[in-house]
């Protein structure tokens, strides 16, 4: 946990995002990109390649075929990295809980850091999830503080 928080420290300046959205997934993030909620003011930018991304946003149901691509994307991302799963589908399969071709729990396939419930989640909830990453870094135990102090010089 401590080690993870230390790694997260390096994420704190900005979050660069790679999106992996199936089906209606991107409707959950569209308001954030627009001017009303405007995630860029917090330094959140959508990158074109997983190799530049700190955070992987996954939303919508994942099929047995697309989850393999998601795993490849996750492996391509440089450390430290976090996965934020949006919406009901990633938690339980959502309305596709009885489909033969979708996965039911995303965490069985990819290490998920935070789930955001909702169908779709409110944009505020997505911001809150990102803030929780920051707060998690802020509330790190002594080892982490020492790390932070050393960095303050």
């Amino acid at each position: 946990m401590v080690e993870q928080a230390t790694k997260m420290k390096r994420l704190i300046n900005a979050i660069w995002i790679f999106n992996w959205f199936n089906s209606c997934g991107f409707c959950e993030l569209v308001p954030l990109v627009g001017s009303r909620w405007d995630m860029e003011r917090f330094g959140m930018i959508i990158t074109g390649t997983p190799r530049h991304a700190d955070v992987l946003f996954i939303a919508g149901y994942q099929t047995l075929k697309s989850i393999k691509r998601a795993q490849v994307i996750y492996e391509q991302m440089p450390d430290p990295k976090a996965v934020i799963a949006l919406g009901a589908c990633t938690m339980s399969g959502g309305m596709y809980w009885d489909s033969y071709n979708t996965i039911k729990r995303l965490a069985d396939y990819i290490p998920v850091n935070i789930y955001i419930p909702g169908c779709p989640p409110r944009p505020e909830a997505v911001f809150e999830a990102c803030m929780k990453i920051f707060h998690h870094v802020g509330a790190v135990p002594p080892h982490g503080r020492k790390f932070a102090k050393a960095h303050r010089g």
């Binding site: 099929t63 047995l64 075929k65 393999k68 809980w97 009885d98 489909s99 033969y100 071709n101 039911k104």
Partner: protein, 170 residues
């Protein structure tokens, strides 16, 4: 009415003169023909020559009570402006049919591949019937009506002994 459906009637006449089957002109630009599966390729070759150069779609309808799969080929002619639909029936226990890939090429490929995956229909002559969506699938073809997908999902994904997943079995 007869004048309006003149060109549709001409297509049916041409087909029935050669294949001894009746067709139906449902309305303007809409023609239906049913044929047995042995003559399917001959008919397809014939209508391609007539000008039906575009294969819009192939679909399968499952009739478990009858024990048949019904194949439906939707063909469009750019010159005649007619949508011709050819129907044929297959035995459900032994669903093998000749591929139309030699006639419509890439048009047919994606449809035959999909129907092979979803219904288990064999298209003889099609070289590439690898799965399209269902990688690593080992269950029965999922679009068949006798496939109990709810039961399949319960078996595969949910544990009845798990308290949190017991609700899926109610």
């Amino acid at each position: 009415m007869a004048e309006i459906l003149h060109k549709e009637g001409k297509v049916i006449e041409d087909i029935s003169a050669k294949f001894k089957i009746a067709g139906k002109a449902q309305r303007e630009r809409r023609v239906w023909v049913t044929i047995d599966k042995d003559n399917l390729i001959a008919l397809c070759n014939f209508v391609k020559e007539l000008g039906f150069e575009h294969l819009s779609a192939i679909s399968v309808t499952d009739w478990p009570e009858e024990g048949t799969f019904e194949l439906t080929y939707h063909l469009w002619s750019y010159s005649k402006k007619i949508l011709l639909t050819i129907k044929t029936k297959l035995d459900r226990t032994d669903p093998i049919v000749d591929s139309v890939i030699s006639i419509w090429r890439e048009n047919a490929q994606i449809h035959e591949r999909e129907l092979h995956e979803l219904f288990g229909v064999e298209f003889e002559g099609n070289e590439d019937l690898t799965p399209l969506f269902l990688e690593d699938w080992d269950g029965p073809p999922p679009f068949r009506k006798d496939f109990d997908w709810k039961e399949y999902v319960r078996q595969q994904c949910y544990d009845q002994a798990n308290e949190r997943e017991r609700a899926y079995y109610d």
